[in-house]
Symmetry: C2
Subunit: 414 residues, 2 copies
């Protein structure tokens, strides 16, 4: 049985007009003789309406009840859409999370999918051409309704595609794909036709606007090809897939940035075993996520330790550091909330030296000072003064030729 | 384990203020050390909102999808209320129809309860003091969500009370009990403190305004005592229960009426075997419910056949009769849409002759002509000209002493 999974977000199911566009996308697949699993989110605004309602009833709503409450959002959209399909003479039915037996762990509000009863879904696909599955929801082993957290419908779709061994998982959204960088910052940004799972993951928040990070991890784990595209156009979008031969041709695939950064430097801390743990354990305990960390080489048994945290976490971080600064021997804590991070991403850089040098040279030409550098196999992140963010993005975008037309990938036979 | 079931209708859960009254009713029971099962309807207006939504999406909404759609109404009210209980420090959780394993047949929109997994509910009651159960919904053997039809939450509550062997089933509503007759017609009407299942059933539409007919049938079958009372007062309401000794003291318990009646007479039909079947089979096939039927004694192998149907079904009934009237030999079909039915109800009349005579005499004194009579063990129904309805109700109410204070029932020891 050939199966395609199509997922549509809240703006795609906002009203009857939008739903007719969804219907067109469904028909295209059905006309190829494929069975279809359509994953829907709640109608735009509905989840927030339900959360507001909960807030009126309770100062701290019970997370389990909240899950069962917000799950009604998807229940409404899938039942309405299944009605519409049946009106069109299409053999369709709605399937809720517990009916699809999407088993999750017992974490209300941010549950992780443990498994899907694929034989149940396949049985339903025998007698139906379209199953309209409620995204974002599952149930735990005690039959309680769980939700997968914001953007969880993407994960539902990818997980269903993996479980059903679907040919393709199409994620329809209100943007038409993944771009080389933010088009608002750099008008020369262009749509990327293919990108690897790892590159998507490294794009972090910029990529997450298009596809939920966890769904990408899921897709990578089960090697599900994901096609991100727009409900409101017929153009192909971006295919997120495993690394293929042709893909390495592009040295750099995208430039990402993140303004939600603050830098903290501890001057002259003792350079001795355990000092890093003393600094970062209490920060981690406070649920603060540290991003970049740089430690300078030691001088006279002292070192400088610099790291970044989300800007909103700067104050609590400084409080923690003031509490421990005598313990670690740091006479001064310096901080800067006006910094941002620009990242150069590309699987191609793994096999090429010189990407970092090219980047630094390009930034130097524009007089942009580099505050911090951190590198991974396929990413170079540079911290700089926030005011240079847009200039740095455009400079790097041009330096790596991302404003040029996408190179045609060599075929696998080459 | 002592268990009480309390059911609250849509007006009782309309908003946070109302819900605080529900909370008071819950606390009363909890303070006695009883475990509590609270059955809730959707918030007032919510079911209609969802039905309207479905109507916008589909001209003839699929009944299965409709069930799964409207079931969200109760899902919202039970989750919100469970949050409120937990905020109060009460060990509570919501339980949806499929979680309570309320198994129904496969009739979407008007499903009948086949069974409840009471061991699952009892297990949940071990770790919780209050289970907030979504009324009106269940699921069928294929795990599809079903609903029980309008007023189905009453049936949910009674079924849960039966399955859990509850001490009491309290149905809270916006009226304070069952009355001897409609107070709008007869200001002397008074609240009845105890009434039998059979009397409630015979009150038909008048009783159904207070308690859904099917829930009374269910309560009778499983001998569940039901206390119908108001959310907005502390007065006791009406207890619907099996017949007890003291109850027979009251000759007549109530006077009901029904203006939705039309009378049809077939003059001079053949008085031969099978003629009734010839007349009523096509009417029944058209889903028309015939209420009273009277056949006069035969004269010269001919007879008159008179019956009543709901007023809205008069036209289709006449069409059917015109089609068959030559077959049954009826030269004329006479009809009257301006009739109504007044009923005298009471288990006491079973052991007393003369109730009918008393009724006819009282009506005669007011010059009210009787068009038709039909009797059962505990009911006498009289068809009369519609304009006399209110006068007849008041006359009979007084004739049987229903305007007097309720007699104190003798104790069971007497």
């Amino acid at each position: 049985m050939r199966i395609t999974v199509q997922k549509f977000g809240g703006t795609s199911v906002a009203n009857l007009d939008c739903m007719c566009k969804v219907l067109d996308k469904n028909r295209e697949i059905l006309s190829t003789g494929c069975k279809l699993v359509v994953v829907l989110s709640a109608m735009a605004g509905e989840t927030n309406r339900l959360l507001t309602l909960a807030g009126q009833w309770s100062d701290r709503p019970d997370p389990w009840e909240l899950d069962a409450l917000v799950a009604t959002g998807e229940q409404v959209s899938v039942t309405l859409y299944a009605m519409l399909l049946k009106d069109q003479g299409i053999r369709a039915r709605s399937v809720l999370g517990h009916q699809a037996e999407i088993l999750t762990d017992c974490s209300a509000g941010r549950a992780r999918i443990l498994g899907i009863n694929s034989s149940r879904m396949l049985e339903l696909l025998n007698s139906h051409d379209v199953l309209v599955v409620a995204g974002f929801q599952g149930c735990d082993i005690r039959q309680r309704i769980t939700t997968l957290g914001r953007g969880g419908s993407d994960t539902s779709a990818v997980a269903l595609a993996a479980a059903l061994n679907a040919e393709l998982c199409e994620i329809y959204t209100d943007v038409d794909g993944v771009y080389t960088t933010d088009p608002h910052v750099c008008p020369q940004a262009r749509k990327i036709s293919r990108i690897t799972y790892d590159e998507m993951l490294e794009m972090a928040s910029m990529g997450a606007k298009v596809l939920q990070i966890r769904s990408v991890q899921f897709a990578k784990k089960y090697q599900v090809p994901v096609h991100v595209r727009s409900t409101f156009s017929n153009e192909p979008g971006t295919i997120v897939t495993k690394e293929e031969k042709g893909m390495e041709e592009a040295l750099v695939s995208s430039i990402a940035y993140d303004k939600d950064q603050a830098r903290v430097t501890l001057m002259d801390v003792y350079d001795e075993p355990g000092v890093a743990a003393t600094i970062f354990s209490p920060i981690s305990d406070a649920d603060i996520v540290v991003d970049m960390i740089v430690q300078n080489p030691s001088r006279e048994a002292r070192t400088d330790m610099t790291f970044t945290v989300p800007r909103g976490d700067l104050e609590p971080t400084l409080k923690i550091l003031n509490r421990i600064k005598t313990e670690i021997g740091a006479p001064a804590v310096v901080h800067d909330a006006q910094v941002s991070k620009v990242s150069i991403i590309g699987v191609g850089m793994r096999n090429h030296s010189g990407v970092a040098a090219m980047a630094f040279t390009a930034l130097k030409h524009e007089g942009i000072n580099i505050l911090m550098i951190s590198t991974s196999e396929i990413k170079i992140s540079i911290l700089l003064d926030e005011k240079y963010t847009e200039l740095a993005v455009r400079t790097l975008h041009e330096a790596f030729g991302l404003d040029k037309p996408e190179p045609t990938p060599k075929s696998d036979q080459s």
